[in-house]
Symmetry: C2
Subunit: 231 residues, 2 copies
Amino acid sequence: MTYLPHLNSIFSVDCVIFAFDEGELKILLIERNQDPYGDWFALPGNMVNNDESIDTAAERVLYELTGLKGIYMEQFYTFGDLGRHPKGRIITVAYFAMIRLTNPKELRPVTAYAKNASWVSIKELPELAFDHKSIFEKGFERVKSKISYQPLAFELLPEKFTLTQLQNLYEIILNKKLDKRNFRKKILGYDILKELDEKQKGVSYRAAKLYKFDRRKYSKYFQNELSFSKD
Amino acid sequence: MTYLPHLNSIFSVDCVIFAFDEGELKILLIERNQDPYGDWFALPGNMVNNDESIDTAAERVLYELTGLKGIYMEQFYTFGDLGRHPKGRIITVAYFAMIRLTNPKELRPVTAYAKNASWVSIKELPELAFDHKSIFEKGFERVKSKISYQPLAFELLPEKFTLTQLQNLYEIILNKKLDKRNFRKKILGYDILKELDEKQKGVSYRAAKLYKFDRRKYSKYFQNELSFSKD
DNA sequence: CCAAAAGTGTTTTGTTTACACCCATGG
DNA sequence: CCATGGGTGTAAACAAAACACTTTTGG
């Protein structure tokens, strides 16, 4: 690399990790344990190592916090304003991820730079370190606009779900009420759901049918779009 | 920055600069004058300096080659695979720009790293250095999908243009034929064009009315979307 | 007067929206 | 038997697509 100037630049990845929990859309926040912004809430992120791609770095950050691999992640923007980090020029590549919360909701905040990690409703976000508020907002915008033409939503739901659960999730993300009949007509019309021979259990009203997302059907009809989930 | 590892990382910006010329969509390519990929065609790009934001770096690259400022540019993706640069890990942030070619079509390839710069039709692109082919493709995809709901096309046309010119440009970008009456109905229906008291000159057939894009009307109705041109 | 492109409406088709009642289940 | 959400169709409004001829101009 001798012909290139050594700029001592630093770059990192930051992740907006979405989950759907208790009827709310939440993101994973860490509490920082070092300055600057010591004790502040922040998006999970880390430096990119010399021997890993940025995608790998993002997957690593997610894995270190959640123990999950093979999660849908997508790079959405790179933030490189001069003032974004008080200690110098650090460019950060931002990703969003969609994860399916299993019941124990276990997190393992084993990273050196975080003393705690928790799921926080996007409606009650605290102030965030650096420019992480803008990063979150841009990521959420991206999710909102993609959700209408790509099956991102399924990544947040359990494998088997009811149409009402799916509709609720869309309503929360899009922040508007949807008509039940029209919603069902449309989503079933895409023919990307598989109806299961199984019903909801443990509810004190008529049990709803369970469905699962059928990746095979999806890729048959929409093979144009990039794969939206790594198998 | 002492608390952060010094990774000696390097990052750059690369630009896919579009223009509409002789009825074709073209991008600006340079011929490299140093290894690796000496003599190859490549997208214009450069290292990001320590004291500039990535947006500024992209504007600088464009300015150095074309002498133009205040051009619409948009960051679209960051490429950071390990193998993308043979001499080491270089992350590059990619931008596209849309420029209005004035008649002399002058370029000033005054940069140190390029011995020539020229407009090349996207239908006849040569092999490109590094992963620049993928960068171009991703950028073009973005333009194609944005053109339908944001007024990017106007950035490529002269200030005064005919509806047929506008339609041709859409057809070339979308790579499909459009119906003349439907196109006019739709584009006029958005009410973002101003009809001028002026007609085409020097044509040997009925002269068409000239229009210009009316930024004021546009921002009135679509103030949601980010500004698509810096004034 | 001819070649070339400008300009102009209506019909058909498909898509989106609005809207209300009966059904099944658990307690 | 009742409270709760599950499940279902049709009509109206709107948007998109298909389609062909007359007008203007320069040469």
